[in-house]
Chain length 392, copies 2
């Protein structure tokens, strides 16, 4: 294998390959960077004597096309891939200008660190991470296969998609988030002393990725500018609506305060809905999800005991709905209207369908009068009434 | 103690107080919420028979003033504080409308969870967190003292500041970050299938806080609208400059591409500088910081061995500067220009002043020819030359 560009990603690819026994030839336009990678055990500095199986071009997006054309002209390898965060531009350049476009497939491992350069490289950087491959209409099956073997060797998960789809996706999942983090972090300068003392984890999280290398990120964002501006323009439009809304809310008695509050809360709601799209996000309660209903006596600590009993189950106790207990709920004293400590409650946990029966069984075994409460079919009013009278 | 409003914060305050043996009276306009808090062991539902030592008003910012006026009229307590995220409005309302403004001090514990409501409450929510208190010009020393005892009881760290300074600070550290997270998360809806498959930790971090309760956050942002719009307007101005810059970069051959790239990289640089303001951020290398210089032979793995040797020290190996070794650097073969694997390198770690000598001693004990290299005084050119010839 040949690795051209021994920064964080190139050196990590080389280290991963070396660990599998692959011979790796390293080069970088900065000879010290290549020697640093070699001294880390990433391979040999210098060109191979004969074409290698695969060349990995690990340079910024705007330089991929030139490096591909040059290394193909030199017959460096049988197949070529790259690791840049933008894929349509390099593909287009390969189709129009590279000597052997069928021997090139775009690639983008979704991995990184907060440092750059070979010294930050890790052989395990790609383990379990997605690695996008974007074959063009002329990429040969052999070339795609060689790139897939690289992904496998790096213990990454291959994702094959079109270059334009990739660029549209990373604009919204990576490139605009980076700009948003920078726009926020830029606000932290030149504030009164004491401001940063109130910084918490929220601010840290929102701004963390703004710490990336400015020149590399400038290159990435420039190379994906059409897709990035599309998303950023939507954000700008939302912000342009938000500012007059907040202006109205800032002035007591302003005639547009109600509209302003609606605009503000609407944005917050849309943000919450957007979050649900992220894999691994806490799924919103689905209308059809079963619920497990547990009556609880109003005694101090009784509810804490129930929450503790759910700890081993895959259920978010913080999300439960709580109502006052009515007659027949067992746990309460049945008066249903007083405000003394003895008043009972009914807790309803929304749970994944697969969990409902097991949760009921485990809670019952622990002495709780739990029952499963499935979604009420809307075509029948009677079920609702029956449901409320279920024996516990 | 009385707690008015048994949501996440109010119930957590009550639980923390109960754990220290304090008697707590709970109330909420939603009786089920108060009974839920009581069933969690947070106290008794209902009003006390005589004024309590301290009333904690744990309602959204816009409702603090009304609750304060009403509870003071009812002589609920000797002193009053609140926990809202906005402080100037409640203070102004107390000064102009509360029966006993000298018995009120604003408060804001910097703590939260991604869930709301009493079921999410935790007695240890405030442990080690900052808790801002904002005495007004009339707040009595006794009132401030009672609030400070609450902070102590919750194991939080008190920070005393003016209400307007607090609001300006949280606008930039909390309120605008929340809106930025929402603006970004709102972009995730209605994207092509497969977009979210490319979501990584960066996107998760940038958008995480957008998951908060929309109505509560609408109230918070509305109550701090003047300070929030000030910061948001700066962000909007940056974004309005960024969009045409990216538009120019999106068009090959556009005359403003160079200017566009400068605008883009300038924003990214300002973001990086802003990050350095956050406490706990990796400090930027200071020009006066000492460096520890270690020559390394070009053998594969030799540099990895050095990096491993620094693992126990408080130094960021990823940040080291690396140069080619010249004559007299020991580790290299001295030819200084070839590209074979044998070429030596010189690694310079920038370290905290207190660490430099210990690091040199430990690396030397492990066989490395480490030397301390202090900042070169700018008034003398000779030191630089001498430095390069230091014996190793």
């Amino acid at each position: 294998m040949a690795v051209i560009g021994t920064g964080l990603i190139g050196t990590s690819v080389a280290l991963a390959a070396r660990r599998q026994g692959v011979t790796v030839f390293l080069s970088d336009r900065d000879p010290v960077a290549a020697r640093t990678a070699a001294a880390l055990g990433a391979g040999h500095v210098g060109p191979p004597a004969a074409p290698v199986d695969l060349a990995v071009i690990a340079v910024p997006p705007s330089q991929v096309a030139a490096v591909l054309a040059q290394t193909q002209a030199n017959r460096l390898a049988v197949a070529y891939t790259d690791v840049a965060s933008v894929k349509a531009g390099p593909e287009q350049a390969a189709l129009s200008g590279a000597p052997d476009p069928e021997r090139y497939v775009g690639g983008h491992p979704l991995a990184g660190r907060e440092w750059s350069g070979p010294l930050a490289a890790r052989a395990e950087l790609f383990r379990g991470r997605k690695w996008v491959l974007t074959p063009s209409r002329v990429t040969s099956p052999d070339t795609l296969d060689r790139a897939l073997r690289l992904v496998e060797l790096a213990e990454a998960v291959p994702v094959v998609m079109r270059s334009h789809d990739h660029d549209a996706a990373v604009a919204v999942t990576s490139h605009v988030p980076h700009l948003v983090a920078s726009l926020m972090a830029a606000r932290l300068r030149d504030r009164p002393a004491g401001t940063s003392a109130l910084a918490g984890q929220g601010l840290r999280d929102v701004t963390r990725i703004a710490g990336g290398d400015s020149r590399l990120w400038g290159d990435i964002l420039r190379s994906n500018a059409p897709a990035v501006t599309g998303v950023l323009r939507e954000l700008h439009a939302d912000l342009s609506r938000l500012l007059p809304a907040l202006d109205a809310l800032a002035q007591p008695g302003h005639q547009d305060r109600d509209t302003g509050l609606r605009t503000l809360v609407d944005l917050l709601d849309r943000g919450r809905l957007g979050l649900a799209v992220i894999p691994g996000a806490r799924p919103p309660k689905a209308p059809g999800d079963p619920r497990v209903r547990v009556p609880v006596a109003g005694r101090p600590g009784e509810l804490a005991r129930l929450v503790a009993a759910t700890a081993g189950l895959d259920v978010i106790a913080e999300d439960a709905d709580i109502d006052a207990a009515g007659d027949g709920d067992g746990g309460g004293n049945g008066d249903g209207g007083g405000d003394g400590d003895g008043d009972g409650l009914v807790v309803r946990f929304t749970v994944p369908p697969a969990l409902a029966d097991r949760m009921v069984a485990e809670l019952r075994a622990a002495g709780w009068a739990a029952v499963r409460e499935d979604a009420v079919p809307t075509h029948s009013g009677r079920d609702d009434g029956e449901d409320a009278a279920l024996p516990v």
